[in-house]
Amino acid sequence: MYSANSVGGGSVMKEISGNKLFVKAMKEEGVEVIFGYPGGYAIDIFDELYRQDHTEIIVPRHEQGLIHAADGYARSTGRTGVCLVTSGPGATNLVTGIATANYDSVPLVCFTGQVPLHLMGNDAFQEVDIVGITRNICKYAVTVRKREDLGRIIKEAFYIARTGKPGPVVIDLPKDVMETPGDPEYPAEISIRGYKPSTGVHIGQLKKAVKMLSGAKRPLFLAGGGINISHAGEAFTKLVEMTKVPVVSTIMGRGAIPTDHELFVGDLGMHGCYAANRAVSECDLLFSIGTRFNDRITGKLYEFAPKAQIVHIDIDTASISRNIHVHVPIVADAGEAIDKMFQLVTSCDTDAWRSTIGIWQKEHPLAMQEHGHMTAQTIIEAINRDFDDAVIVTDVGQHQMWTTQYIRLDSKRKLITSGGLGTMGYGFPAAIGAQIGNPDTPVICISGDGGMQMNIQEMATAVAQELPLILCVFNNSSLGMVRQWQKLFYGKRYSCTCLGARKSCAEKCKDMKVKCPPYIPDFVKLAESYEAKGIRVTKEDEIDGAFAEARKNTKCPTVIEFIIDKEDSVLPMVRGGESLSNMILDC
């Protein structure tokens, strides 16, 4: 503890305010970018930030856009995303983004302004208990109540966010605590007695798992997002090549092995490909790494991988044996476990098994039904063709599933998507964050017309930041995924899923011959009003030209609106709660 005149280590320690220590902490943590939106109880921090130049501040147009941008930045760079907002509504606008990051294990540190301590609990202006609100949707949340705790808490926040299973941390900063003078030092080290992320791998368990792998007749790797989070894609690919064991992946695990690799079968789950879901149902050993066996990939639990012994490697003990019974549980970081496996594995004889999978792949290859219109598949395949390296960011819905089905991923092409929470409105702001973190890589956002409108105000951010973002809006005038469920399971009662509908439309419009009113907004005009470029594509042969045009806009975003047919469905599909072997293949 220091006072203004106390002598520490022989020199006089000059006290500094909490706001100044905050700025110092950002520098020490190597924070290059803060996604920030000012307000009454954050104004002092922004004032301190104004006087420094090591950390850039990006000002989005809404706090939800802000946190998704920080999330896209973090996922695409591997660095920790930092948010700074004011109290009350500034803080509550982060909630969806915190939950999104929590589900997909994204390291974020979210600083929220707060009313002074003496006003807390008083229903003061712009006061909310943000720690109470976010406690169940983040990795850690705390209010700084004493100035002397500030440095330690910020240090802990960055440590907790990025280590173990990464996740968002919320730090609430009361105005008076931040004004108080105190210790000028930012701690170099911290130790948290209740938080010791596991390191190392239990070699005995790993040996047992590898032995089962070599003994299996129909082994299958299941690659989850954990492999991508620990940047172990290349190591994993090497492991797969050494063992010759085929791979299926979750959507978060897609890209862990290049998607055009001969041993990659496809994604599994609700919209997985036929061969992948068959392979899971028929395999005798499922070797999973970095997945939590979410209901979207398992389908009916007790019919999931019914013939298989299951190995489960995950960094989170609570993910293991939670949804499905596991025969060999291994708590470890995916990358560490894969590295350890190199010394243990041998090539497996999988020729017969792979040719069986090959037959399934030929039986029902992944392909959209041709009907004369431009399909999502053709657009995504054009992206595969036209861009060698890219960060692809999606929103949530049909376009997201089509992307996860058809996008080609490898070491130079990355996919960012809200897999766990399925947050509409995520894609566009996340793409902004990804482009800020990767200024030299093409960033392509694929969104639907619904999700695009959920954070469309961020167009101003993208233009203001002069980002050459390419924004593909797959416009089918509908909330397509819900509409698809209504089409398949709800007797075509399209309740509330037509985004073209107006009050004057027939109440229950069934007559498809009636001309619909023009779609609002006009995305091309909208882009132009923000000084971005807008292109509308209605035919297949215009796709490549549109992308070529977009690439010329190096200082501003391009919106390409693709008009697609609302009757297009994402197939195959396993109905929620059904067994994976029970796939709908056409409709």
């Binding site: 720690v131 109470g132 406690r135 169940n136 990795k139 850690y140 949340a141 705390v142 209010t143 109540r145 907790i160 948290i192 007695r193 209740g194 938080y195 989170d316 003990t317 609570a318 044996s321 939670r322």
Partner: protein, 165 residues
């Protein structure tokens, strides 16, 4: 489904009780009883939580508790020798003279104290195991018309040598 006990060492900070109780409600686990108090170390609190669950859910609860940054240590007291006691007050009103005599007998047998007394009311202070407190309530409900019960929830500590559940 059976009764389980966990003992938690947690940070003695604002919001930790809310974090733990919120974890139970958010994940749809049921708390039967929860007690919390400080320890010999002022920065650490100790919680004793009683719950009823199946094996798989209980495993998951322990893992979820362990994940909390605020939780320092999780001890499973389900199959461990512990000393466990619960404080309970029972107030009995409208007692007949014969009832009073009966109550003194009961107090003697159950080893509970008669802490307060009036013409037709009595207050018992009980420091028994949860099960014995249950038994006493059952007995008193059968014998008396008007009883009022306040229970404190169990606190538990690992035993040195003997089992006293």
């Amino acid at each position: 489904m059976r009764k389980r006990w966990v003992s938690l060492y947690v940070e003695n900070e604002i919001g930790v009780l809310a974090k733990i109780s919120g974890l139970f409600s958010g994940k749809n686990y049921n708390i039967h009883s929860l007690t919390v108090g400080t320890t010999e170390d002022a920065t650490v609190s100790r919680m004793t939580i009683g719950l009823i669950s199946d094996d798989d859910t209980f495993e998951q609860i322990k893992k979820q508790l362990n994940r909390c940054v605020e939780v320092i240590k999780v001890l499973d007291f389900t199959a461990v020798s512990t000393h466990m006691k619960e404080v309970m007050f029972v107030r009995i009103d409208h007692i007949s003279p014969e009832g009073k005599t009966e109550l003194f007998h009961i107090a003697e047998v159950f080893k509970v104290k008669v802490k307060d007394y009036s013409k037709d009311s009595m207050l018992l202070e009980c420091c028994l195991t949860e099960g014995r407190n249950d038994d006493l309530i059952q007995l008193l409900k059968g014998l008396f018309r008007s009883i009022e019960v306040v229970r404190g929830g169990s606190v538990a500590i690992e035993s040195i040598s003997i089992n006293d559940r």
